[in-house]
């Protein structure tokens, strides 16, 4: 890749806050996003898991009412994050050539609320009551399409759908779009709004979710010996990525460089990670190679670290294989301990946090790490946030998903 790509705008709406500044402050302080769900369907269906990490600010509080009626909740959250990132980049109202602006937005599941609500409507009230907007609301590309309309982005609106790897994969797709030379700016990110009884029941039946119903705030505990599963979360993250040339020409503030990235697939099992982390290892190596970075350049990793008993170990194995003894010099943040697992938005929000960490030289804290698993001897940022050293360095954001998807992005300080 010949052109240098930089990040000039950030947006987020998460269980920690309704925007990037509030999310970032909470992430440095250490904030548990998971709470007991108050919806009547928890009791009605006797769900085995009664908590999740809902967004701190309801999208209806910041969007116009017709927008909330025509967009699925997942698109609503994506729109909130994208608008913040666009404004943060100083691009609101800017004169851009729309034919050189693209969108690359991710989701794991798409408009699951719309799909299931409209199925209920059909069964209870008949087909006439099914709203005509149902299909554009439930389709997984709903968010990327709506965001392309919002921004007048005509260089393509792509959608990464690779389960929990989707958010990072969207960034790598953005990188591909920008490296063609035909695109100057891409709105990249991911969104998810799947705290619905069906996915909750299904993930619980896979034994993937924590059952710590009596203490939701302590349930997401990556690397801890007592971790018992992930915590469902919702939210969105967005990053404005543009060519350095374009950013410099308009005098934009640059947070970090998107130095490289890679996706691989395990071809091992539809849900279980490769026990030796081979797919993750290859993704890490390729991401560093595409960033023209050596392992010694890496100082910080925002790990996938979902808090499942099986998942956290192979990720360590992969990091050890790639970094070797240098792994002792890498500080690892497992921010899902705070946000819960945002599925298709996870990699986007965690990329926002990785970029903030490099820009502010501060790694966010991992909460609930009371007894670190001896099988995972990482240098975990726990107790309090940690300062990163000055000087040029690389931060990594890794995401892995059902289907055997591995996606790794590498960011460089500027």
């Amino acid at each position: 890749m010949s052109r240098r790509l930089v990040i000039t705008g950030l947006g987020a709406t998460t269980p920690l806050g309704g925007d990037v500044p509030s999310t970032w402050d909470a992430a440095l302080a250490g904030t548990a996003g998971a709470k007991t769900l108050q919806q009547d369907w928890v009791e009605k269906y006797q769900l085995p898991v009664t908590f999740a990490a809902e967004v701190a600010v309801e999208p209806a509080e910041v969007l116009a009412r017709p927008e909330t009626r025509r967009m699925d909740r997942s698109t609503q959250l994506g729109m909130v994050a994208a608008r913040e990132a666009w404004a943060d980049a100083g691009l609101q109202g800017a004169e851009l050539d729309g034919e050189r602006v693209g969108v690359s937005f991710a989701t794991g599941i798409g408009g699951v609320w719309t799909l299931l609500d409209s199925w209920d409507t059909l069964r209870e009230k008949g087909p006439r009551r099914v709203l005509p907007m149902t299909v554009p609301m439930l389709m997984p590309n709903g968010a990327s399409g709506a965001i392309s309309l919002e921004l007048g982005a005509k260089a393509g609106a792509r959608t990464a759908v690779s389960a929990c790897a989707s958010g990072v994969e969207a960034l790598i797709m953005a990188l591909d779009m920008l490296s063609t030379g035909d695109v100057d700016v891409v709105m990249a990110g991911g969104t998810e709004a799947a705290i619905h009884p069906l996915p909750l029941a299904a993930f619980a039946n896979m034994q993937a979710l924590s059952r710590r119903n009596d203490d939701p705030g302590a349930a997401s505990r990556p690397y801890d010996v007592d971790r018992d599963g992930f915590v469902m979360g919702e939210g969105a993250g967005a990053l404005v990525i543009e060519t350095e040339e374009h950013a410099r020409a308009r005098g934009a503030t640059i947070y970090a460089e998107l130095a490289g990235g890679a996706v691989t697939s395990d071809a091992h099992h539809i849900t279980a990670p490769d026990p030796d982390g081979l797919g993750a290892t290859r993704a890490l190596r390729r991401a560093l190679a595409s960033a023209s970075a050596s392992v010694q350049d890496v100082t910080h990793v925002n790990a996938h670290a979902t808090s499942t008993p099986l998942g956290d170990v192979p990720e360590y194995t992969a990091m050890k294989a790639v970094f070797g003894n240098h792994l002792d010099e890498v500080c690892v943040s497992a921010t899902k301990s705070q946000t819960g697992h945002l599925l298709g938005a996870a990699g986007a929000v965690e990329s926002v946090l990785t970029v903030k960490a490099l820009a502010e030289r501060k790694a966010p804290v991992t909460i609930n790490l009371d007894n670190q698993d001896p099988e995972i001897p990482l240098d975990v940022v726990a107790g309090s946030a940690r300062d990163l050293d000055p000087g040029e360095q690389i931060g990594i954001c890794s995401s892995f998903g059902f289907g055997g998807h591995n996606a790794v992005a590498a960011f460089r300080t500027v």
Binding site: R65, R128, L131, P132
Partner: protein, 81 residues
């Protein structure tokens, strides 16, 4: 005979919900497409919601004849009997 003012008020609420237009802008002589800028998908949503609210049937082939808000109020009033 149904109260046409009540139908207009109810219809205006449905239009506001769908489009964000103020209810006062939804007047009898206004055209759905020309004046209120309502596209075909929004129009169908408004029709389906009106059917539920006023307990009437508005067949798809009738929808294209409902040019103005007044046309819709008239149709609903007649359908209610």
């Amino acid at each position: 005979m149904a109260d046409k003012n009540a139908i207009l008020a109810g219809l205006a609420e449905i239009v506001e919900e769908e489009t964000g237009l103020e209810t006062e802008e939804v007047q009898l002589e206004k055209s759905f497409t020309e004046d209120l800028d309502i596209d075909s998908i929004s129009m169908m949503t408004i029709v389906v919601n009106a059917e539920e609210k006023f307990d009437v049937k508005i067949p798809d082939e009738e929808v294209k004849n409902l040019t103005t808000v007044g046309d819709a109020v008239e149709y609903i009033a007649n359908a209610q009997g």
